[in-house]
Every structure is written in C-alpha cells, then in structure tokens.
Subunit: 289 residues, 2 copies
C-alpha cells in the first residue's frame, strides 16, 4: 500500500471542489489549492459554468493542475418531453470534460424522473427509472467513446435512491457495466466513494470484481454518527466510522494508481474558512487514510 | 391480492405502537386502537417495561387484541464485558414475547458495538460486528426455539448500518437465515419493512426467496423526499415514493396472510393527536396500500 504519510508533494491527493463550494468560486478554490500544494482537483459543472468553460480551462492550465475527474453527467430519468434536452446536456458534459483534460466524467445516474430532472412528470416507477438509466447510459457511452472520454459510473448510497441515483450498490453498477460494455472497452468504469459503499457486506468481493481497467476514480470522506443530513452530512476522514484503509487497500490491490479525491459535502465544513478546510484535509490524508 | 378497501373490520391492519409513542403510554395507545377498531398491535419493549409485563399482558387479553409481533430483541455487537448481559437481555425479550402471545419477536441485529450497546468499547470493525451477529443470533435461536418463539430478522436500511443494523439487505438477512437455520425450522424468519428495502434492485427476487415459512411480519410506511431525519423521518403511506402495492403483491404471492403492521417513526406524526394519526392510518390503509 502507498504510504500517504510520506507523500510530501501530495501527488496522490485530489480536492473535489464541491468540498469548499460555499467558500468561493472555482478560481478562488483553485488558488487556495495551489497555496496548499494540492495539484489534483475535480471541479463540478456548475462551478465551471459560473466562470465559463474557457476561463476554467485556462485556470487549470495556468495553475499546472491535473484533474482526477469532472463532476458530473447522468441524471437520465426524465419524461419524454425532456429526453432530447437531457441527452444534449450530457453530450455537453462530455465535451467540457474533454476541454478540461479530465481523465473521466463521473456519472450520477439520477433517481425518479421528477427529482433527477425537475419539471419532468412525477413517477415512482423505480424499475422504469433503471431501464431509462441503462438506455441513457448506453447512448451516452457511444458519444463519449467517440470523444475519447471515459465515463465513471458512481453507485450512490441507497438513501439517495429517489433523489440522486437508482444505482445503489457497486454490484448493480458493475452489472450495468457488464450489460452495456461487455467487451470492457475502457470507455466505461467505476467512480467509487467510500461514503456510498462502506456498509455493503459484498463490498470487498465487488471491488475485486471491478478490475484495474474499470477502477477510474476513488473518493474519500467519512460517515458520521449521527448523520444529520442525507445530502450534506458527510464527515472529514477520521471523524466517522468508515474503515478507509481497508477499502483503500482493496482498491490499490487492483493496481489503481490514481489520486485520492476528497469529497466532503458537509454543512459543517462549508461553514469553515477554506484554508482551515484544506489544512485539515491534508493532515487527515497523511494520518488517517 | 387482498382488497384492503373492503376490509371493514380492519382484520389485516396492525398498529406498531412506536408510531404513536410520544402521544402516551401503552395503555393509552391500546385504548385508542380499540376506539378505532384496530385489534392487531405490535408493542415495543420499553413501552411494556414502563407499565410492567403483567399489566401489559392483561391489557392485551382484556382488549381482545392480537399481536403481529413484539419489538424487539437483538443488538448483538458488544464488547466482552457486556456479552452475558446482552445474552440475558435477549432471553428476557423472548420470555416477554411468549407472555404477550406474540407470533414472533422482531430482531434488529445492531451495528457497531458502541452504538448497539452503549458502554461497549468503540470499534469500527463492521465485519467483526457481523460475526458477532451470526454467533449471537444462533445462540438466541436455540433459546427461542425451546420457548417456541419465532425470531423475525429485520434487515434495516443501509443508512442505519453503524447505529442499528449491520444487516442491511434482505439478501444478507436470508443468507444469515440459511447459515444459521439450514433446515428451515420455522424458528427463524424475516420481518420485512418496505422502508428499509424499497430501493433494492434485488428486492422482488429476494422476496421470492423468503418463502411462506419465513415471511413472519410485514411493515408499512413510506419514504419521504426529502428525508429530514435518518431515524425519525418516515412518511405515512401515500406521502412518499415507495411502490407499496408492488411489494405487498410480492409478499402476498408467497402466501403471507398476516396483518400489515404500520410503523411510522416520525417527528411529524409524533406531534399530532393520537386519534388523528389513527384515522389517517386507517384511511391510507384502505386507499393507498
């Protein structure tokens, strides 16, 4: 296993910019990352749109930054009236990821249509949503492969099934990869976040099933007890109950050599100064992960 | 499928008394149930202890009530210092269930030791907790079989893995049943709550796997979007996104003919008058479920 305590240059640490999204815009976040010696980042689409794609591309280039991923495409379930709009939105996400030089575009598949794409007619047909995800992802993959942009399918915690992702386990995500991309084209893989999967009895055997070729990006945070918010109640590594090293060891055993992306979506950490948050991330990265 | 709209006498409706636990003690709850024509109930241990087991047994008998289950035993993970205490506590739960004439004792297995049994030394070893659950449940089953009390193992939503239950899916619960009770003694089965399992891609195939002999009790409520509390944010049937009828049909297809137990643990419904809550339950039972 890599010795993160000895990673003086933070070469394996990436900052998901959602972690400090309330503290400032993307340029301020990239500046802060540079101040702390963090050179890998994963920006969100809305943060990029706020300053414009060209400005974001320039900032990444000028800062000598590498991306560990781009957040995010997907949110496939919709009603018929919005289907083309969703397809086109996802194609733009692919194009943006290419422009930014991202190694992958993270895919959060969406839950029920009226939550995935507000304005869609309401439906509680979860199996129907999953069928839409399979169709939408297959169509998007064809576009993304032409563009040379790998898609990183992220299973989300089951508590987000209605709102964010009807793909709730790594097993389900891998089944979907096998169905859509049986030849393992390297165009479709997995974004694995410890927060979403730590509880799963099958997690170690399913990680083994991912394989090096499909292990595209790996995210860190922690699960707090109690969890005060379903969407923004994540903890900093070390403050919760997740056995992070056990999961990291399983991922490294695959041959994964990417950066560890810290994504702490948290009302608490959003309320702190950005330099404090980054200092704590670096300290925990070296001592806890 | 049974026609609940035509169930004039509410013969298939049961009230889990946790649903109105903040409105009064067990005797007041049983009185209110009787006022509304509800004759099946599932009381909680703390509510029984509050008035004493003998008084509770008399109230159930005098009211002509039937139990759909008794909540609850389990919470197995603990440190060595508390192991005998936990075993004895679970034996008392079996004895109480027998005294009350319950058809089964619901088992919530517990999460990490310091949450399952406060006072236990802290540990984040989730695999270790699961091993303790297997051992503890096997030991408890031997006692319960002698007492003639079936144990109903309840998988809980993965968001409760640390605090309440490291058994998070129906598949996992059934694997545990198969491992501990391979001969299907009828002493070990499943308590299925739509709240905990609705998100699971495998839920219909796993329900089919339960079989009539292991389908001991079935619980209803709903999943709200947004969910404001992990432990007490459940919705009344019809207010959320769960396809209740689809799940009920799968359970009935097994041959299940028990009552539908309404368990809405909710800050909102705990703040309403008990008669209002029961009226709404009866209306939703007949129109939504």
């Amino acid at each position: 296993m890599r010795d993160l305590a000895a990673d003086e240059t933070l070469q394996f640490l990436s900052l998901n910019t959602g972690t400090v999204r309330k503290q400032g815009g993307l340029l301020a976040i990239l500046d802060a990352a540079a101040r702390h010696g963090i050179s890998n980042v994963a920006p969100w689409r809305d943060q990029v749109h706020e300053i414009g794609l060209e400005r974001a591309v320039r900032a990444v280039h000028d800062g000598g930054l590498r991306l560990s991923g781009y957040c995010r495409g997907g949110l496939f379930p919709t009603d018929d009236a919005h289907r083309i709009e969703v397809r086109d939105d996802n194609r733009r996400a692919v194009d943006e990821a290419v422009a930014l030089g991202a190694p992958c575009l993270v895919i959060v598949v969406g839950g029920l249509p009226h939550f995935a794409r507000p304005g869609s007619a309401a439906s509680c047909d979860l199996a129907g949503a999953r069928a839409q995800v399979a169709d939408g992802l297959a169509e998007m993959l064809a576009y993304a492969e032409t563009a040379g942009m790998p898609l990183a399918l992220e299973p989300l915690h089951p508590m987000m099934a209605a709102e964010r992702s009807c793909v709730c386990t790594l097993r389900q995500a891998l089944d979907l990869c096998d169905a859509i991309d049986p030849s393992r084209s390297r165009g479709l893989g997995i974004a694995l976040d410890v927060y979403h999967v730590w509880w799963d009895t099958e997690i170690l055997s399913q990680i083994a099933r991912v394989g090096a070729d499909r292990m595209l990006t790996f995210h860190l945070c922690d699960w707090l007890v109690p969890t005060m918010s379903v969407l923004s109640g994540r903890g900093m590594m070390g403050d919760g109950v997740i056995e992070i090293r056990k999961l990291r060891a399983a991922v490294e055993a695959l041959g994964f050599n990417g950066a560890y992306e810290v994504e702490v979506l948290s009302d608490h950490w959003w309320s702190r100064q950005i330099d404090e948050v980054l200092s704590v991330i670096i300290e925990r990265y070296r001592t806890v992960c």
